[in-house]
Symmetry: D2
Subunit: 350 residues, 4 copies
């Protein structure tokens, strides 16, 4: 019963098999491997973006920080949600890679940026000229850090404001596919058709060992990205092992299948929890993560039974601080089994 | 016949097997996996350094740049050979990670820093106070970029000067084990006993998919290193796959065995080439790389036969520029076979 | 009638005289002038800090950003008020000089940091270890950006929390002397005795052409500061002209006299405005700045009469957005005359 | 007898007078003063560059580092002479302001870049793609650090190579006017007509208190420069005092007159020294600086007589290390008098 994070799950068997197959003989290094050529072609096809530049890196922090670095000058700011990974969980990587840009923190329910607040803050940014930090980029996260999913319309509205104000847009898609299958739209609809310029297309949390693609729809940024990737130590010499993972991921819809499994597991877990009276959803469950208030009694039974998950900052918002209600995050991955879920449900029901 | 680089070789079968084994069930993320505990213990044992901090990263550029960043302030300089990887092949990663430090380029035969020049340059660095860049760190490379190997005494002498001048020392050991088995000394003798403070302990070029350890003998630098690694995007969530590679590497002397194979292959290649009159060694062959002048005729036969290797900048130093003599780098890896070598020798002998 | 900013005022005659006197013959450059020796001694005396390191720079942004750079690592955050100069008016200079640190924005009435919020935010910063930005420094501003003045007790309380949490403290004293004379305390009481580590001791807004001192109470930071100052382009070759200004400033209590004049002018202005029913104070007037709501009619009369001042962001907080009430900032300087004030009062009274 | 540096000289009386005049009443801050409008117009006229962007900063290091920062990306290199101010005397300011670019050090007699070496080095820079630092900018210094002067043809040849290779060009003109009057050409001929993109137009060493102009011939870079200047802490609030100095400098040919005085003083000194047999010129004296070998006996007489000048690194190149011959730098300024020179000559002649 492991609900702490989807990054604690193993890699999918298809991925391990592909790695073994890639490990034969010599291969050109530094991204010049033949598998990468196929990966690029496949991603362009999936995203209906024949001109897109495609790069692989090994961590989500890297994908985000490098993406932002080609969208944001050091004297500019990135508009993002207060509860975004780039603000809370990357130890300042965006600041490091951009050369010292700011992050302007926006509010919004369920970790989704409030569109009006974004417009107001962006419009009032930089108005005193050289004294102020300037508008840089918009970064949104889908699936959000609270497990909710922006609709295509919501993304479009935010990006439309960004375009109007002349700034670029980034999508942190560490859980891109979980959002995609939740929305039932196409990758193009969730990204460039909605106004996204650069995507962190995550694989690690959805069955890979450690690969994220960065997709840049405007190829004019490609060379700068390549230089920044190398300079950041993120260009792998034995690059074929990244390519092979991503190729397996995109073969026979594995990426979609794994995300559907994770989302379905979370739905099953949610259904079970809502049948108890020990849990309350703090945010709508829309993909593979649940944020819940739970009774202390349920928590203690779960802990005693060996369930692993993170308490989450803050107390139950409806009832206020309480010794009786705790908050927690429960994450399902592609590898979460029905048995695990049922065992957990059985534990917490008492 | 692939002699272009040891980073084009596959990973060793033992490593792939370990990856498969590590891919079972859940594991704590971000370096808290159990395999990493064992890797740390094993490296401390091998290096006879029970206090050392040990970290894994995925590229050699990262290992070097992060290592230098904990040894060098932005207003300081790193003393290194003009032909060092950190100067020539990392697109400014050391400058990026240190926040803009300089590299002071030193000369020396066979890509080994001239000890007198180092002393002279270091002593005259920073003498005008605040106007000058200050002394930062010494970085040496073993195996060097020209395939030669510093002796323990040579390392000691350079480090002794560094210590006297109050600066830290870094060893770029992208081919650490190739140097170690060439010298026949212990890891401790080649590093901290000789005065090295921080080591990039390479695995990628010697049979791993993509793992380098950084070993910091003074644990006071450990926390800063961890923050810099995360901030640089180099902390893997699914860290177990790095740990598993390194554990396999250090099990049953695999690391030593692989390096010996590579060095032996290079020795066999050298022996064969010196029996022809088409080749001349430009630097002593001391590990797994050869730098040669070769006749154009031999080159053309090799190319026609499908041999892959890099021409190397500059012409034959003894005879001067010539259309008839080309220079090339030939690198053997753990996977180079006698058959490959013999086929190459047969081709170039005409 | 110029109330736009104290940095639009001329330099005091004593300062110009001192510049003329300093402009005789040769003088050692780069801070080695004899006048600087006297300035250092005088500042140490005034601050009762015989060990303090003292440096001169030419802008307030520089004084702040360099001060923060010796207190904050790139992976740390500076706690400051949302309405602080370092956040709103320096185009990211703190981020630039610190190498990419964050600013954590705190609330608090009248631009003074809420002490409880500071404690809460600081205590919850960095608790997830390497994933989070770490605690760096506290920066407070006295006089604040809303013209209010922290009491010595308020400073002490904030600094006490900072010390408890192990972080350094900076005082942005662009209007240091205006606060000092408002409080009637000693420089030591307002700084190191209250727990401040580094002070930006402003002169430019109080009668100098362009000089700020940075006072570092812990001399261990001095050499790093000197290197950062030079590297930032802020070490003057003809340094005597900075020294001479500061020496004149500290001679015969000129600094105190000028600040008292500015504060008295603001008090006179406030007294006059409160006798009208066209103005309302938005923050307590405690030094040389007034933030007011004013009627549109009064504003139009003032503009027509040639008064110069800045409207200030936001509308009247009590009454909400209104076409009838505008907000403005009125700043008095050492050179503001009673005649100017009376003319302004006469205008707005209609 | 002060020959240590031209930055130890006082400001010209005309400059002090202009400062006094500027110190009347209120003036708009941050570069919006009326004097600056006139300065911009005057510099555009003098440089025959009606579109040029013109900015004032207070130190030469700042002018250079900011200029380079708009010409060079972090992953690029600045080609400059090994003995350039940006390499030797700025504590890494170019690296700081560019975000970590490299400096590629070129040789050349008399501190003038060898044109063939520049071409060779620049052509071979970046050829291995993403692994290498890329070509950034060319920076030349006139007057050079050895007191020599590039001819217009020499500048043109270097810039022509730079343009061919697609890189920008910077002129460090800390002693711009000394070079100009030595060459007898126009400012346009020495700069943009010869291919220079950005100029550090020095004033401090030639009679100002502390002002340098940066002139950017391509106004597309102007806004970025303004943001970088502010972010670097180099935008003065009371900017009128910089403007006033520069306006006085450019009025009634003061700048030319002062530079001619300095050069003439150096010529007189040279003529006197060459009549002794105690001195030998190490570089041609072409402007206001002399680099000499001098006998120890002459040195001791000069010291005993109170002459102030700097010994200069290295020994006499012709005769090799010697206890009998010392090397020194002698700098004349606008304020050097014939009496000082004659007293010095008298001393050293014994």
């Amino acid at each position: 019963m492991y609900f702490a994070s989807d990054n604690a799950a193993p890699a999918a068997p298809e991925v391990m098999e592909a790695l073994g197959k890639a490990n034969e003989g010599y291969a050109s290094s530094y991204g010049n491997d033949e598998i990468m050529d196929r990966v690029t072609a496949r991603i362009r096809e999936i995203f209906e973006a024949p001109e897109a530049a495609v790069y692989l890196v090994s961590t989500g922090t890297t994908a985000n920080a490098l993406s932002l670095s080609v969208l944001t000058q050091p004297w500019q700011t990135v508009f993002c949600h207060r509860h975004s990974h780039i603000e809370e969980d990357e130890c300042g990587a965006p600041e490091f890679f951009t050369g010292g840009a700011k992050l302007t923190l926006l509010e919004g329910a369920d970790a989704k940026i409030d569109a009006d607040q974004f417009r107001n803050r962006a419009e009032s940014t930089g108005v005193l000229g050289v004294h102020n930090i300037q508008r840089g980029a918009l970064s949104i996260t889908n699936v959000t850090e609270m497990g909710t999913v922006y609709t295509v319309d919501e993304i479009s509205r935010l990006c439309s404001t960004a375009k109007e104000l002349g700034i670029g847009t980034h999508l942190d898609g560490a859980r891109f596919t979980n959002a995609l299958v939740a929305l039932g739209c196409t990758p193009a609809e969730m990204t460039w058709k909605a106004g996204i310029d650069v995507v962190s297309f995550g694989g690690t949390k959805n069955g890979l060992m450690g690969v994220e693609a960065v997709i840049i729809f405007d190829p004019a940024k490609a060379w700068e990205f390549e230089l920044r990737r190398k300079r950041g130590g993120h260009l792998f010499s034995k690059h074929r092992y990244l390519s092979a993972q991503m190729e397996a991921y995109l073969t026979d819809d594995l990426w979609l299948k794994l995300a559907r499994q994770a989302n379905a597991a979370a739905a099953r877990l949610e259904a079970g929890l809502t049948r108890t009276n020990s849990f309350e959803m703090l945010h709508p469950r829309q993909a593979n993560m649940l944020f819940c208030g739970m009774t202390r009694a349920a928590h203690e039974r779960a802990q005693a039974g060996g369930a692993i998950y993170h308490p989450w900052p803050g107390n139950h918002p409806a009832t206020g601080p309480s010794d009786e209600i705790l908050t927690c995050r429960l994450v399902c991955s592609w590898s979460t089994t029905d048995a695990e879920i049922d065992e957990f449900l059985s534990l917490v029901q008492g």
